[in-house]
């Protein structure tokens, strides 16, 4: 009888031989046995097949763990430990790539460019946090996102950000999401990745400007909880909307709210909403008139945004390398600049005609006109929607986390006396058993 261990050894040996056979076929790389030093590149190597699946697997497992820790165990220390693991794994070990935030652009490019095939792992990274958010709230933000984790780890002295300022600053994230989608759809740039403030820390290299931005955000993050997540994160915008629909999500109290007010200032992200008072009749009438006005204003804002976006097409199109090249070639051909640049030399070497380039650039600019109009309309819609939401009073009887803003960090649990009761009962139960 053949032992299973022997079969395993034989399979391993076969694998080794197989790999060697594949290696034989490979084109031998040039060898520079001179004093030339091959520099270390700033970007990580392309993801290898197996690691992509390992990453997707780790993401799935950590999301499940995060859900259990946040919704059932309700233990901030364990949530924090998981957060540190995710920071170490997805951030420093895997160099911050793939991440769901940047994956928004891959998905967009897949929709608009039939020639681009999205890797399965990227699709999983994009979709899995959305699915979990739809069912369990922002558990991804709470314990899995490395960008959130690095900010959460430095939060030492949280200060309250006024609601009006918070709402205003959050518009930047919507604009950022719109720009990220627009530029990815046009094949111009992955702007979200280009301006990732923390990836330089994860890779221990990067351009100094973004390292400075990252350092500044961490400095701000010592006092203002997770500034990137709250005011900039484009993926967070999507998660906010999905979290509103979630069936199970974070609650401050494990049972009933006793209105003790103790949790009122517990959240460093300003996500806890107080119980509401009924509106006085006079105020209600004013609010109704304001709502009617804002409903009329909404299409105006959308239209104005769309018009402004369309008018900005020339400026937006300059982000696309083809349009920039066309402009450069035009300047060179009309002797408006001196000399050439690498891109214009390469263009001429390829033998393409200027007319062909100009036609392509014009077409791109027209497409940016449509895209810019949609972006502007989107921003107008967001501003209008935000104004409308401020005019609508939601009835709230308990202290509860705002489903959209709650980052599921678990800090508020320990402020609730009912939570202490639950924990006490748990400990007594353990003793009895």
């Amino acid at each position: 009888m053949v032992r299973p261990r022997l079969i395993l050894v034989a399979l391993a040996a076969l694998l080794v031989v197989g790999v060697a056979a594949l290696g034989l076929e490979r084109f031998p790389p040039p060898e520079f046995e001179t004093d030339y030093v091959r520099p270390t590149t700033t970007a990580p190597n392309p993801p290898q097949g197996l690691w992509e699946y390992v990453d997707a697997g780790v993401l799935a497992v950590t999301l499940v763990l995060a859900t259990v820790l946040i919704l059932r165990t309700r233990n901030r220390k364990l949530i924090f430990a998981l957060m540190l693991f995710c920071l170490a794994y997805f951030g420093f070990f895997r160099n911050g790539c793939v991440c769901p935030i940047g994956a928004v652009q891959n998905v967009t490019l897949t929709i608009f460019d039939p020639g681009y095939a999205i890797p399965l792992a990227v699709l999983v990274f994009f979709a899995l946090p959305l699915v979990f958010t739809l069912f369990f709230g922002r558990v991804f933000c709470g314990a899995v996102c490395p960008l959130g984790a690095i900010q959460d780890a430095v939060l030492i002295h949280p200060v309250r950000v006024p609601r009006w300022l918070e709402s205003g600053l959050r518009l930047i994230a919507y604009l950022y999401l719109g720009a990220g989608v627009l530029f990815a759809a046009m094949g111009a740039m992955f702007v979200i990745c280009r301006y990732d403030p923390f990836v330089g820390f994860f890779r221990l290299s990067g351009n100094w400007e973004m390292l400075v931005v990252g350092a500044c955000l961490l400095l701000i993050g010592m006092f203002v909880g997770r500034p990137y997540c709250r005011f900039l994160c484009p993926y967070g915008v999507i998660l906010r909307q999905l979290s509103r629909l979630s069936r199970w999500r974070v609650t401050i109290t494990p049972t009933d709210c006793i209105q003790c007010h103790l949790c009122e200032d517990a959240c460093p992200f300003g996500a806890i909403r107080k119980p509401t008072e009924p509106w006085p009749n006079k105020e209600y009438q004013v609010a109704r008139r304001r709502l009617a006005f804002l409903l009329v204003l909404l299409p105006v804002l959308i239209g104005a945004g769309g018009w402004a976006g369309y008018e900005l097409r020339q400026w937006l199109a300059m982000v696309h390398p083809e349009v920039r090249l066309a402009q450069r070639i035009y300047l060179e051909e009309n002797a408006l600049v001196e000399g050439t640049i690498d891109a214009s030399d390469a263009f001429r070497a390829l033998g393409r005609s200027s007319d062909e380039l100009y036609a392509a650039a014009t077409q791109l600019r027209d497409r940016f006109g449509i895209g810019g109009a949609l972006l502007g309309a989107f921003v107008g819609c967001v501003i209008g929607g935000k104004l409308l939401s401020l005019s609508v009073k939601r009835r709230r009887t308990d202290y509860e986390p705002d489903p959209a803003s709650c980052l599921a960090c678990g800090r508020c649990y320990r402020y609730c006396p009912k939570e202490h009761e639950r924990l006490k009962r748990g400990r007594e139960g353990l003793v009895r058993h």
């Binding site: 200060v159 001429r348 070497a349």
Partner: protein, 346 residues
Amino acid sequence: MTQRQGKMDSGVIITVLICTALLVAIGAVLLVDATGRRGSGLSRVYELDAVRLASFDPNLILYHEVGPPIATGFERSRALALGANGRFYIAGDKAVHVLRDKGTLEQVIRLASEPHCVAVSAEGRLYVGLRDHVAVFDEAGQRIVSWEPLGERSFLSSIVVARDDVFVADAGHAVVLRYDKTGQLIRRIGEKDPDRDIPGFIVPSPYFDLAVAPDGLLRVVNPGRTRIEAYTFRGDLEFFWGQNSIRIEGFCGCCNPANFAMLPDGRYVTAEKGLIRVKIYDADGVFEGVVAGPDELVVGGAARVFLSVEDAEASGFDVAVDPDGRIFVLDTIENTVRLFVEREKG
């Protein structure tokens, strides 16, 4: 009146810190070179300085150029062969030009398509390799026969005539074909065959040269492996030599040597493309010296940047050797033939 001395509200400090960080961050974002207009911004350690890497000891140059270059009369010269009685056979454009020693155009053999390689037999027959087939001409330039086409993927890059055989290098299929002189295919040489320890040719670009050495073995460049391999006419791999290196002793780049020729005493004359240099190796493949380096062969030398695909492709110079050991270099950029002879020793 109460006065606070030496104390500042922590809220003020935090606000100042946040505002300062915010302003610095905004400034840094504005400074990001998202379009790459400022270049890579990398230090010189990232620079691959071809000029420095291509430099070598000038004492290694064993040859010098003689006489003015001879114009081939082509816009795009492709291959060079030497015939008996001092004739040059140069393939290019859509013709073969036959030139006398001093460059006098003696004969023009017009072709329907662009020739890639040319060889002359001892009887004076001309074998011209077109893209997918060989055409044979008599001494007067009359077409005798065209051999069977080899298919769409074929790209004939070199041809050599032995006593009874004709060897053709097909870069498209990465194989050497042995024919008899009537055009009957006898054997395919160099295809991957682990049972015979033949690794197969790697041909990344349309440069794939061969020659018959004085020892009676066929020499074929395996350009992707940057070496020259010796085969019997039966297709057995006997030995090989050559190493990938940007140093003068080796062959640099993805696929070199582009062309080579055999001196009467069994030594090799190799021509590399990219970093254009012509060198001498002894019969065992040991580097002996340089015929001409980039500075001697090309305007701009190693610093030359090829701005068009055609220009870059033309950097594969061909070489031929006459019975006296004189080396003829086909300059495919200037479309000339240049003669190099050994320097007086001492």
